[in-house]
Symmetry: C2
Subunit: 397 residues, 2 copies
């Protein structure tokens, strides 16, 4: 079946489904963003957050038994938009569209695929993102929380997702999959709710933030804190710490790439040969210029405090939250397909390998498949189709 034909048939199926007054969940490539609300939520740290809202979207149809659900968790700077388009004119589809859709490895003809924004989502200025975090209004004060918002953990992200799923009557997850912080959530899901999670596909992830990762994550956030506009997190309605946030996002951008990519894309070229890097401080190498622009562009939709909350949530990550990863993973019942990227500099393969080895040692069914490439960490997003067949097979087991 050609892709065109598939899309057309999916479109027809959607029309039929709508005509029959079934839930309008059939997936024709167009996606609707929805909002889930909880009157209050108590964090792992014991703090109550009122009026919790997160955005979500889905692709495919929930079956009657409600047992064909695949949950996709998003990465650090991502959101719920894993596949499809909100409007036909959108420049690009969701980030994992290459593997989610009709006839694709995560096949929306079979599965009900659902994805949500996390708590403290970074992209508070993206109008499609719905989240609750430091940029939200504290109902008790009528002002943005800033750094008084409770510190949250990956488990808190999972718990709010679980409440969303339960609101849809879903009690079983065929699979939890995700890239990077999405993989991190998949590990946490399997450890926290072992009877609910049948499979996990953690891509470019880690079951625990090791010391080196904790140290690096700290640097990601530091430029925000030395930007005087940060002001201890109290900047809403004033000049924002844009320079610090842009620099933080530049670090994320290069950390998520790799030497082979940098050589192939920029080499030692200068941004503007007329401004020599030997003669003048105005001179810039091409890679520096590109990263400057990427950081600045990404900062436009992001919130600096939310960045710091995400850093802390990831530093606190140790699947199962038992003090040691070995203890934390003991509860896991899910089968796992663990997928590191060979050139990953951010969460390098040793982290996936460590998690896979622990799961294997305790008797879980585990496959480890390495995504080969030069693109670094981002290969787990941009080049994930390379391991599409392995994902498809794993989901059928």
């Amino acid at each position: 079946m050609t892709r065109e034909l598939r899309l057309r048939l999916a479109g027809i199926a959607a029309v039929i489904a709508a005509t029959l007054a079934m839930p309008a969940l059939a997936y024709d490539g167009l996606v609707e963003k929805k909002t889930f609300e909880m009157p209050s939520y108590v964090t792992v740290g014991g703090k109550t957050i009122k009026n919790v809202k997160i955005g979500w979207e889905s692709y495919g149809t929930l079956n009657a038994a409600k047992d064909n659900v695949i949950l996709i968790c998003h990465f650090f700077s991502g959101d719920s938009h894993a596949a499809g388009k909100y409007a036909a004119a959108d420049a690009a589809p969701g980030y994992w569209d290459s593997i989610i859709g009709a006839g694709k490895p995560i096949d929306t003809d079979k599965f009900f695929v659902i994805s949500s924004d996390t708590l403290v989502n970074l992209s508070t200025k993206n109008p499609k993102v719905v989240t609750t975090g430091p940029a939200s209004i504290n109902p008790d004060t009528g002002k943005p929380y800033g750094m008084t918002f409770p510190i949250v953990t990956i488990r808190d992200f999972v718990n709010v997702q679980k409440a969303l799923l339960e609101s849809l009557g879903i009690r079983k997850l065929h699979t939890v999959a995700g890239a990077s912080m999405g993989a991190i959530q998949a590990f946490e899901w399997a450890a926290a709710y072992p009877d609910m999670v049948e499979r996990i596909v953690p891509v470019i992830g880690a079951a625990e933030a090791d010391a080196y990762t904790i140290g690096w994550l700290d640097f990601w956030g530091q430029p925000i804190k030395i930007d005087p506009n940060w002001n201890g997190g109290d900047y809403y309605g004033k000049a924002e710490p844009e320079a610090g946030l842009a620099l933080a996002l530049k670090i994320v951008t290069i950390h998520a790439r790799a030497p082979g990519w940098a050589d192939a894309t920029f080499g030692r070229k200068q941004a503007d040969p007329a401004k020599s890097v030997l003669d003048s401080w105005d001179g810039k190498f091409a890679i520096v210029d590109a990263l400057d622009k990427a950081g600045a562009a990404r900062a436009k939709v992001a919130d600096a405090n939310s960045f710091l909350y995400l850093v802390r949530a990831n530093q606190l990550h140790s699947a199962g939250m038992k003090g040691s990863l070995e203890e934390g993973l003991k509860s896991v019942k899910a089968k796992a397909l663990v997928i590191p990227a060979s050139s990953d500099e951010l969460l390098p393969p040793y982290l996936s390998e460590r998690a896979a080895a622990l799961l294997k040692k305790q008797g879980n069914a585990v496959e480890l498949v390495t995504l080969e490439g030069n693109g670094g960490h981002l290969d787990g997003v941009l080049a994930v189709a390379k391991v599409g067949e392995q994902i498809k097979k794993f989901l059928a087991q």
Copy 2:
């Protein structure tokens, strides 16, 4: 011969040498810092710097033929102090003392070992360091140069070292060795002055800064630039950009380490269990606290503008400065012992391997020995004795 006996004999030899009115260069573990001056120097970029001064020190005795010279070049945050102590009460000897000394792999009983501070040396507040850079007084204005100091390159570091050597009548280098930016200088020496350099021992280095390294080096310097006290480099005599510089040096510190080291040293421990990382922003992970303290301590002796000049010099590095590394290395005649560190995250083994492969391809005698360990880049400084035997053998060839 025991080390004690060796030291005692070296001491006696020094006394004899002094008595005989020979140059007082015999090495008894105590080192004298000296200053070399040039009335003016013209940079690779064509700018003239007046009153150039750099510090230097030596270990061992220059022979009559002046052909037993080993030049040691220092790393990014280092200085000339590679071995020995300035005073018996010094807390620690120079950074490569484990391999430089009487009977050691770089044997001061045989070799005259010399090391100098570079131009734009970082540690302008270390009273032992003598350098010329942005913190120096511009004789034309009577004020510190700041960012008006000419941009300098690794070749400029080499050229000033060459003038120092020539002032001592030295026309031949048995070996140029160094760690990190010291290795980078060794490559540049061999490419720039092939008839002068017989051997190079580049440890944890690179023959060229590739695009990814150029990008990361940029981040090292960025925290300085967003510190409002930096003020475009005009901060001398005013509040200095200490926070930015401390953060820059924190990044250098973690980049020079590795996951295995971080796990073994800190794990996921908290700095102060009474201040929980889950409950409060005052809570810190132990690794973050240690890096905070390291960065702050290192910043006390360092100069922010000099940091930026060092970043640019390293970004500009491509041995031979011919536009392509393959072209740049063509002139090299030296034998090379190239030593990457297996766990290096800063200048990872692929950079050493790339340089070694190019030299081998063009017919140079090259050995590649990998320093195995968990300490990261810093293994090339702290654990270099592990490859001491290989260095000793290579120097005898």
